[in-house]
Each structure stands twice: as C-alpha cells, then as structure tokens.
C-alpha cells in the first residue's frame, strides 16, 4: 500500500471523485439536450432532403449549411467564440453551467447528421407501405421511421456521448471543471504524471462503459 501511495503521491482522491462527478453531470445534461434538439433536427433534415416526404431545397440547404459550419469549427474554438452568447444564456461562461451551451452547440449538429443518416438507412418501401395504409406524415415518422431507425439512432447516441466526453475534457481548458480540467491543470501544467494517468484511465473506463451499454442497447433493439 505504501508503494501505491508514493506512486500516486500527487493524487487527491477527493478531488478526483468531485471531478468525475462533474464530468458525468456535464455529459448527462449536455447529452440529454443534444438528443432533445438533435433528434427533431435530424428528422427535419431527412424529411426535407431530396425525394423525401417534405422535400424542400431552401430549408434543407439552410439547415445543412448551419450544421456544417458548426461541425467545421474545432470545439476548442467554439468554446471561446461562444463565450458572450454563453454568458447571455446561463449568466456565466465558467464552470459546469458555462460549458453546457458550447457542448450542446457542438454536439447537436453532429448528432443530427447521424440521425439523418440512420433514417436514410430505413428502406423506402417501409415509408411507401405505411403511406398505403393511410398514415399521415406524423404517423409515418412516429410509427414507422423512428422505430425502424431505432438501432441506428441508439448507435448515434453512443457515438455522440463518447464525442461529448472528449468535448468535456477540452472544456477543462477554459475552467469547466471535470476530469479534463484536472488533467490539464495538474497533469500538464504541473507535470504531475500520476494525476494525468489517473484521469486518462477514468476517461477510458467511462468511454468503454458508454460503448458497451450502447452496443447492448443496439443489439437488443435490432431484429434483423
């Protein structure tokens, strides 16, 4: 035990505990909002795309442009560029609250594109058959498209959650708190490799858990 204590002499386990909690909170809230906003956005992109139910070139092109712009911006830049807007929304650009708007703004376009792709995987024949049954557009989306695309959407949520873990770590650079913040302040700036090691292992464990749970859910809802 003594060797272990010397090996991790710089590690303040309480601080690690708090940082892990902060990361999980940032991840949970930002993922919830990303799904809430990105799912309808992805559905809208799919429906307005060429040869789909609500084909609309101007709407599709406009959303596509905004989505691509946000995706083209490196997240670290987005964090900084968004600061004034973040302060208006949450009253601060620091801490957990201050990182939520950029996290959501960064992940939503990414997730929406994945949702659009998942919907595109649904056989056109399914839409036609549902139409032939006398379904309204809303019913086609809710009763046919979304259930059929569910495995794809769950996979998209998994990928997005993992991307958000890396985003939260980056947000540490601008004072967000969480594991990334610890890694940067202690591990990088003070050369405390033990702290760096512990945070990286925890992030790795978190990503592994997310991927495993996501894969299980996808398998559970796939009936192919």
């Amino acid at each position: 035990m003594e060797t272990l204590a010397t090996l991790f002499s710089n590690v303040d386990w309480y601080e690690i505990w708090v940082a892990t909690g902060d990361t999980l909170i940032m991840l949970g809230i930002s993922l919830a909002f990303t799904v809430l906003l990105g799912l309808p956005l992805g559905v809208l992109m799919f429906l307005t795309s060429p040869r789909q139910l609500l084909e609309n070139k101007p709407v599709y092109a406009t959303i596509g442009l905004i989505v691509n712009m946000l995706r083209a911006l490196p997240f670290i830049i987005l964090l900084i560029v968004m600061m004034p807007l973040t302060e208006i929304i949450t009253g601060t650009s620091l801490g957990i609250l201050g990182t939520l708007p950029p996290l959501i703004a960064g992940a939503t376009p990414f997730f929406a594109r994945l949702v659009e792709t998942a919907l595109r995987e649904v056989d056109r024949g399914i839409i036609e058959a549902t139409q032939a049954m006398g379904a309204s557009t809303r019913q086609i989306i809710v009763k046919a498209l979304l259930p059929e695309a569910r495995p794809g959407i769950l996979a998209a949520i998994t990928v997005t959650a993992i991307a958000l873990v890396s985003f939260t770590a980056m947000a540490g650079a601008v004072g967000a708190g969480g594991l990334g913040d610890l890694a940067i302040r202690y591990g990088y700036q003070r050369f405390q490799n033990d702290v760096m090691f512990v945070t990286v292992v925890l992030l790795l464990v978190l990503v592994q858990i997310l991927q495993t749970v996501g894969d299980r859910l996808v398998a559970h809802f796939s009936h192919r």
């Binding site: 024949g125 399914i126 058959a129 549902t130 049954m133 006398g134 309204s136 809802f221 009936h223 192919r224």
Partner: protein, 335 residues
C-alpha cells in the same frame, strides 16, 4: 369498379419530361382479378400506384366506385387508402415489430378500434393466412413465403375492397409462389375482393387472373379475358410473354420442323373439349396420320385447356381440318 379515364403520367427528371404512362383508359370490374403484365419500365408499377395515389397522375381521372381519387383532399385520401390494401415484392414489413404488430399496424393507424378488438382481428387474420403460431416472431425469423403471408394479412386488416399486388411473388421460389397465388385466389373468392396485380410472369396471370392487360412502353397493347389473350396472343409483346411461359418459340417452328413431313397445325382446346378423345376419332375416320410436335395441357385459372402442335400426313386432310373446326377447337395452320 376501378376506372381509368385518359390517365397519363409524366416524370420530370432534370428538366426532361419522361412519359411513364401514355393516356390510358381501363375498367376493372368489382370482384375481378385483374393482371397487368409488362417488362420493367413498361409503366405497370406506375399504373398500380395511381390507383391508391402513391403516384399522382399528370392528367385524367381515376374513379374507384365512382369516387374521383384524383380529387380527394389529404384526409379523404387517407380514409380512401384504408379501403385499398397493398402488398409488395419485398414485403416491406417493419423489422422492429412482431408479426402481430405488423398486421395490427393499419388498425392502430386508423385509431378507431380498441386494443381488444385489434387483438381479435389480428388473430383472425393470422389464422386466415396460416401463421397463428408465428404471432410473436419478428419478420427476420420468417421465410419469404411467410413474410408475404404477413403482408397479405396486414393488407386485409382494414377489410379493404381492393387489393393491389406489386410483383407479390417475384421474390419467391416457384413452390412458394404457387401457394401465395392460391391464397390470393382464395381471398378473391371468399371475400369478393377486387385484386389488381402486376407481374412480369405470364404464369402468374394464367394461374389467378380473370382479365389481363399487356403493357409496353407506357401503353396497354392488348387486353381481354386471360384465356383469349393467352391462347391467341396478337401483339408481339404478348406473344413474347406467352412463349416465355410456354417454352415453344413459334418463330422457330419452320426451322426446327423443316424436315417434318406434311402440314403443321396448332389446335387449341378449352374447357371440356380438352378431355374429349378427338384426335384418335378424327384420325380413324379420315385416315390421316399425326405426330405431336409440341404440346401442353394445363389450366387457366379454373378452366382446363390444351394446345397441341401437330404434323399431319396422308388421308383426307381437308375432312380432318373440317372435323377439328366443327368440334369447337381453334385451329391454326402453321405450314
């Protein structure tokens, strides 16, 4: 009754107008099994989808029981579509739902039945198509024929008056095709359902249809009772379809049978005449000899028919021909 009045359809692809269906008029009587046959791109798929307006016509009127389908608003169209069932080549079942939930789908979408009523209706439908034991399975666990039976049960859920079949057996093996066609014929008979089917196989038309229309390049080139069109095809496209099914190439008769002595005739029997001992009787009485070069005895839906290609030599040939004609047999002299 389904009635097409001067209906046409043009697709616009990159500023070019591509006609899929030239102005066409057509009537399908209630209770009929009506077949549309044609190669891919002939316009039969467009024609089928015009009936429940999955495709909107570029012009003309489509009446179903005197209701103008082309004039329906969105609500009217949805209500109308519930009276028209549809099955598909690739079944188009929802992979995420069980067999029972797939069949229940048109009923839950309509939203006018209780859960208990829906469950009861689904049980009835699955019993009708012989899949009661598979209610809790997912489509991926079924064979092609079983999937199409689920498709049929689903199409019948809302008790439609019309069933549209889009190449319903083209993805199935011959044996499964036969059983699915038998089920369709049964449904037509017992539920007095009007069926419109499209296919590229003459055999499908022969087994279940009452009337057939042959399509080529967006035009109906030949139409009539299946027996007439099948046994006496006039248009080249129809002839090609019939020959594909019959395995006898009329054009080759003169080259293949060039060395055969005597006259070559084709006799077509229909109904009870198929089973009459005509050939032997005529040969005995007129002294002709005959050899059978090609032939087939089968059924067109419920009517037996026979078609024989004969080489006739010796005896009183004219008397023999007269006897054939008098016996209500259709005779063509090929050489």
């Amino acid at each position: 009754m389904i009635e097409f009045q001067n209906v046409h359809k043009t697709y616009r692809v990159a500023d070019r107008e591509i006609p899929a269906l030239h102005p066409t008029s057509l009537r399908v009587e209630n209770g009929q099994v009506f077949g549309l046959i044609g190669h891919s791109g002939a316009g039969k798929s467009t024609m089928l989808r015009l009936i429940n307006r999955l495709e909107a016509p570029s012009g003309g009127k489509i009446l179903v029981d005197d209701v103008d389908v082309t004039a329906l608003d969105a609500d009217g169209l949805r209500a109308f579509r519930r009276q028209v069932g549809m099955i598909f080549q690739h079944f188009n079942l929802l992979a995420s739902k069980t067999v029972a939930d797939n069949v229940a789908m048109p009923l839950t979408l309509a939203g006018d039945m209780s859960r208990a009523q829906i469950d009861q209706r689904v049980a009835e439908l699955l019993a009708r198509v012989g899949l009661s034991d598979h209610a809790r399975k997912y489509p991926a666990q079924l064979s092609g024929g079983q999937k199409q039976r689920v498709g049929i049960a689903r199409a019948l859920a809302t008790k439609p008056k019309i069933l549209l079949c889009d190449e319903a057996t083209s993805a199935l093996d011959p044996q499964t095709t036969a059983s699915v066609l038998q089920l369709l014929a049964e449904i037509n008979r017992e539920l007095k359902l009007t069926i419109v089917l499209i296919t590229h196989e003459m055999d499908v038309i022969r087994r279940v249809c009452d009337q057939v229309a042959v399509m080529d390049a967006g035009v109906i080139v030949e139409q009539g009772a299946v027996a007439d069109v099948f046994l006496h095809p006039k248009h080249p496209t129809t002839r090609r379809f019939v020959q594909e099914d019959e395995q006898v190439d009329e054009n080759d008769i003169n080259s293949d049978f060039a060395h055969v002595q005597g006259r070559i005739v084709r006799l077509t029997f229909q109904g009870e005449a198929t089973y009459a001992p005509l050939l032997g009787t005529v040969a005995r009485e007129t002294g002709v000899d005959y050899s059978i070069l090609a032939g087939r005895i089968d059924r067109i839906k419920d009517t037996p028919y026979g078609q024989l290609t004969l080489a006739i030599t010796g005896g009183d040939m004219d008397a023999a021909f007269a006897r054939f004609t008098a016996a209500d047999v259709h005779m063509e002299i090929l050489r």
